[in-house]
């Protein structure tokens, strides 16, 4: 922890996006599981995710970012899946 001599004047934060150092994954009670074969890469999970925890590379969905995912389940609910098969399902954390 910083001493009073080390704090920034006016409490300004000079490092943009430093919240990335604060992992919120431990909040999770439920864990989303990505089932790749059912994924149509619509990216709705990516755009709706409140915690920016769906990784996307070159327009293709990748794994969840479990460092930050809080397990709300929003992605699983919104997932259209393929032929009625969800590409995201929620599971109990720790199983």
């Amino acid at each position: 922890m910083k001493t009073w001599k080390e704090v920034n004047p006016g409490a300004v934060i000079l490092e943009p996006g430093s919240a990335r150092k604060f992992k919120t994954g431990s909040w999770r009670a439920m864990r989303p599981k990505w089932i790749e074969e059912n994924c149509i890469h619509c990216l709705l999970c990516w755009v709706y995710c409140p915690d920016m925890s769906v990784k996307v590379k070159d327009g293709k969905r990748e794994q969840f970012d479990y460092d930050f995912c809080k397990g709300c389940g929003l992605c699983a609910l919104e997932c259209p899946g393929k032929k009625g098969q969800k590409a995201i399902v929620m599971e109990q954390e720790g199983n």
């Binding site: 009073w4 704090v7 006016g10 409490a11 300004v12």
Partner: protein, 393 residues
């Protein structure tokens, strides 16, 4: 070339602002400070300054807009008084907590209720603990000089704090007095260019201002603020010494008038000091060793220096143009008492509350107080520590 002019206190403040040439001013009108911004907006309308105005819908928004402008990275000034300052009170703490060098001219005025628009220090005392630097001015000349120096102090790299420059509402703000300007070129060179610190407009280096700070860090920020406050008197004197070179006018943390050999003294701020000095002269002529101390830098309060200046007196009267409603003494009295408390041998102190809501401060009130000090110095008997003077009993 400096020139002698006859102007009002408000115009003196506006002229100093014109010389400082702020990038942005956010303001809302309020008696008796309205005139400052009226005059200043005419400079804007006539392109005598580069300033962009933000004419808000309230003082709360005026100070909020000043905060936004200052964080963005430029010179910012405003003016207000009384209820206006009360309304922006929340934002005053935020301006200082964010360490923003905003300069505010204040025509000090009484607070409601009852509604009163006249000269009084209640507004300034209400913002006393907001983390700002406070100056009080006796007349238009001091208002002008303090305002010009305020930009230098606020924007000093070791300080970066907001500054309030007060003068008495109507008594000084609206009276025409003779004073001397610093010419524009000299004044502008003295104030200098604004140097931004962590400006929000620097889009290549994004900053976040105004985080939530919890129990683990809040005290550290407060202590850091306190530490900066401790550096203020040194910077005030440094800037005053430079100002003397361009103006020939000398300023300290406070003014001492016939105080060195005084046995009794009065402490009084702003316009009432002028009247008191005249009365002191007549008593001095009669051989009474009476002097005066007129605070200039009120926050941070120069406790140590003031204690040293007054400790040799037998009795001291502090005159307050505001009262603290807590069954206690006037705010200035409490500060001066604190300054003297640490001395084993210290003056006997009395407190007079005078001039509230613009009530005239007359020479007989100074005489009455000096006579009482003479008696206390003689027999040590105090009939009451605090007393309202100039009030109908």
């Amino acid at each position: 070339m400096s020139k002698k002019v006859g102007i009002t206190g408000n115009e003196a403040i506006a002229q100093a602002m014109r010389i400082a040439n702020p990038d942005v001013c956010g303001a809302y009108p309020i008696t008796p400070a309205t005139d400052i911004m009226q005059r200043f907006t005419s400079f804007v309308a006539n392109c005598e300054v580069k300033t962009e105005m933000i004419l808000t819908e309230s003082e709360h928004s005026a100070m909020s807009a000043c905060i936004g402008s200052s964080v963005a990275g430029g010179r910012v000034a405003t003016a207000s008084a009384a209820q206006g300052i009360a309304l922006m009170w929340e934002m005053l703490f935020i301006a200082s907590g964010l360490r923003l060098p905003i300069v505010m001219g204040v025509a000090n005025r009484a607070l409601s209720a009852p509604l009163n628009i006249h000269g009084d220090h209640s507004d300034g005392m209400g913002m006393r603990d907001c983390g700002w630097i406070h100056f009080y001015s006796e007349n238009a000349q001091e208002g002008f000089d303090n305002m010009l120096m305020a930009f230098r102090i606020a924007e000093h790299m070791d300080i970066r704090l907001p500054v309030m420059v007060g003068l008495d509402g109507f008594i000084t703000s609206h009276s025409i007095e003779t004073m001397e300007y610093v010419d524009d070129e000299t004044g502008r060179a003295f104030v200098g260019e604004f140097k931004a610190v962590n400006p929000l407009l620097d889009i290549k280096n994004p900053k976040s201002y105004g985080p939530l700070i919890l129990t683990d860090m809040y005290m550290e920020y407060r202590k850091a603020h306190d530490n900066v406050m401790a550096k203020v008197p040194g910077v005030v004197l440094e800037v005053a010494a430079e100002f003397e070179k361009i103006s020939g006018r000398k300023y300290g943390l406070f003014e001492s008038y016939r105080l060195d050999d005084a046995e009794i003294a009065l402490v009084v701020m702003s316009s009432a000091a002028g009247t008191t000095k005249d009365v002191i002269d007549t008593y001095r002529a009669k051989g009474v060793k009476v002097g005066l101390l007129k605070p200039r830098l009120y926050r941070p309060f120069p406790y140590e220096q003031m204690g040293e200046a007054l400790k040799h007196c037998k009795a001291v009267a502090v005159l307050d143009r505001a009262d603290c409603f807590g069954g206690s003494y006037g705010p200035l009295f409490a500060d001066v008492s604190n300054a003297l408390y640490h001395y084993a041998q210290r003056p006997i102190m009395i407190n007079k509350i005078y001039g509230l809501g613009g009530r005239d401060y007359m020479p007989d009130q100074a005489e009455y107080t000096i006579n009482e000090l003479i008696q206390i110095a003689k027999d040590g008997k105090v009939k009451s520590i605090k007393e309202y003077i100039g009030v109908r009993e």
